[in-house]
């Protein structure tokens, strides 16, 4: 132990024995609210290594994959044809979204895994406040990091390749749109983590959600399943993400901002379920 064998210090050094409302003037009692919870969650998310690891790997993937593609195309002197330059960032973002999903799950599930959630909820009885604060902090963080990185990658790609200049709409979709989509995907993972309460389980389910529709569609060979196959292709998460670059994998299906809207609705439903389950279940 680090404490020397000295008589125990008084627990409240500069304070008269705390009668209610008799705090030291430097410590006015006030009722905490959502803002305090957001500050707390910001402290939590910035003080663990998993945040640095997942977001760091995501940035590396976006930059690495995006730039490598651009450099490779330039070196091969290949023709981009009608492909917009910014769409080269797609593969990096698709890989990077796994990192955001992992962080989203860990943000809540690690509290259940370590038991910290009991300490947290013994300090703040409002489950919804904690979950909403987590969501806000996580969403803003992952949105900012994704959008900025996607923007940097886009700028570098257009500089390396002298294809046509992307329009403002293309820029918006490839940065803010992609940032929103990936952050929403992470938020969906967070909601799932709150329901499942198990890191590995929730991450596995989320990766399944991202990949399974596409994989299933690939193996639907019979003609009778054609319509199902088409829907799975069009609404799979990679396709929706690609639609933000104006190059949907399939030509039909939701385009651009529709994808963001669809995912917003799905995430809202999941978050509602998470809030309801948090409020009802024992910790």
């Amino acid at each position: 132990m680090t404490t020397p064998a000295a008589p125990p210090p008084p627990p409240y050094p500069d304070r008269s024995p705390g009668r209610d409302g008799e705090q030291a003037p430097s410590a006015p009692v006030r009722t905490p609210g959502l803002g305090d919870a957001v500050a707390s969650e910001w402290t939590k998310i910035r003080s663990v290594r998993s945040t640095v690891w997942t977001l760091g790997v995501m940035v590396l993937l976006l930059l690495g994959v995006g730039l490598l593609t651009a450099v490779a195309i330039r070196a091969a002197d290949a023709d981009l044809q009608d492909e917009p330059v910014l769409s080269l960032g797609f593969f990096g973002v698709l890989l990077g979204s796994i990192c955001v999903i992992t962080l989203g799950v860990l943000t809540i599930a690690s509290e259940y895994g370590t038991g910290l959630i009991r300490t947290t909820l013994a300090v703040c009885p409002s489950r919804s406040r904690v979950l909403i604060a987590k969501s806000i902090v996580f969403f803003l963080l992952s949105f900012t990091v994704t959008t900025v990185t996607a923007g940097v990658v886009g700028v570098l790609q257009t500089a390396i390749l002298d294809g046509g200049t992307p329009t403002a709409g293309e820029w918006l979709g490839a940065t803010v749109g992609v940032g929103l989509y990936v952050a929403l995907l992470g938020l969906l993972a967070l909601a799932l983590g709150a329901v499942v309460r198990h890191s590995a389980g929730a991450i596995t389910i989320m990766i399944g959600v991202v990949l399974l529709p596409l994989v299933l569609a690939m193996f639907m060979f019979t003609d009778t399943l054609d319509s199902v196959r088409q829907v799975l292709f069009e609404y799979s998460i990679p396709s929706q993400l690609a639609s933000l670059y104006d190059t949907p994998i399939t030509l039909s299906g939701p385009s651009g901002w529709d994808s963001v809207l669809i995912l917003t609705c799905v995430t809202a439903v999941a978050m509602g379920a998470a809030l309801a389950s948090q409020d009802r279940r024992d910790v």
Binding site: A5, P11, T43, C124, D282
Partner: protein, 366 residues
């Protein structure tokens, strides 16, 4: 003030807490005792609203915890020392809790100093020993300077110095008029810390009384008699006492435990038998013994068929084994209790296995 009324918690078919009603009053340390799995932690969790009671209710200061205005300023709880994210530093852990509770940051450094973790505040808590983890948990409980404090097994993993510190801390918190509710399975610890005891077994209330009442209500008082070491003296006295209706039991150090007879009567009988007494002292059973009796009763009470079968026999069946000779004391389950205390141990430091010799002295001086 904590008040539970008909508190019940079932997990499927298992009843963890069964119709528990009690009050924890301010200004005293209330010990919450029970064997492992008796429902202590479940009760604690229900007090802070982590588990919903199946039936009944528990309130803190008249409100259920989850509808308390500004709960972190009113209730501080240490439920599980390992309930921290190991990757976060001690200071950041406390900082996040303080921010969540709307408590100024300065208070974080203050409580770190109170629990003596200021030197390791920047270290990640995964490297902490269990004792350091307990201190961190206590720091978290103290953050809001609350009026009601809950500690679940706070001395687990602490060194004797740390245990001493926790004991004084709790007494001080109680003396400041706070409500202090401490669960433990360490009887010896509660004997030194608690003013009031709530004992549960199998989720049911077994006892709710002050420590002093608890001991006198549950103990078998006996007299310790010491006679000159000649065997015939002892045999003569034993025969006289047994004849008069007392029960005599030899102790390993040669003394006799006599139950069922008041002290003056023992003296008279000895006088009548012509036996000189070197010692005749009243002895009150320790809290440990009282607790063992009580929880055994709980098992009795719950058994279905033959209640006595398979049970550890109650500790003191102080009877003279026939013809066994007094030099060889019979096998006693609590034999290890008579081991001498290791040199240098302060009598206040709780021992892993309690020493009645130590406690006796303190109790006889009471």
């Amino acid at each position: 003030m904590i008040e539970a009324v008909g508190l019940t918690k079932r997990y499927g078919a298992k009843t963890a807490v069964d119709n528990l009603s009690f009050q924890v009053r301010p200004g005293a340390v209330t010990g919450f005792l029970g064997p492992n799995g008796s429902g202590k932690s479940t009760t604690m969790r229900m007090i802070v609203g982590l588990d919903r009671p199946t039936a009944g209710r528990v309130t803190v200061g008249g409100h259920p915890f989850r509808s308390l205005p500004n709960a972190p300023r009113q209730v501080g709880a240490l439920l599980d020392a390992k309930a921290v994210h190991g990757g976060r530093s001690a200071r950041n852990h406390l900082l996040s809790l303080a921010q969540l509770a709307g408590i100024p940051t300065a208070r974080v450094d203050e409580v770190l100093g109170v629990v003596g973790l200021q030197d390791v505040a920047k270290r990640r808590s995964s490297g902490f020993s269990l004792g350091m983890g307990q201190r961190l948990g206590i720091a978290a409980a103290l953050l809001g300077d609350p009026r009601v404090l809950l500690f679940d097994e706070p001395v687990n993993g602490l060194d004797p110095e740390g245990i001493h510190w926790v004991r004084n801390l709790m007494k001080q918190l109680a003396s400041e008029g706070r409500t202090v509710f401490v669960s433990s399975h360490l009887m010896s610890e509660m004997a030194l810390t608690a003013d009031h005891l709530i004992v549960i077994g199998r989720g049911q209330l077994l006892s709710d009384m002050s420590v002093k009442d608890f001991i006198s209500a549950n103990s078998a008082d006996f007299a310790r008699v010491r006679v000159p070491p000649e065997p015939e003296q002892r045999e003569k006295l034993t025969a006289a006492l047994t004849e008069a209706g007392g029960r005599v039991m030899p102790e390993p150090d040669g003394a006799l435990r006599v139950t069922g007879l008041p002290l003056p009567r023992i003296s008279d009988l000895a006088h009548g038998a012509g036996v000189r007494l070197w010692q005749l002292s009243p002895h009150q059973a320790s809290l440990e013994e009282a607790y063992m009796r009580m929880t055994q009763g709980a098992v009795d009470y719950r058994s279905t068929a033959d209640a006595k079968e398979g049970l550890v026999p109650p500790p003191p069946p102080y009877e003279l084994p026939p013809d066994s000779g007094l030099a060889q004391p019979p096998e006693l389950p609590q034999r290890g209790w008579y081991a001498p205390p290791p040199p240098g141990r302060s009598p206040a430091a709780p021992a892993p296995s309690p020493h009645p010799t130590e406690r006796e002295t303190s109790e006889e001086s009471r």
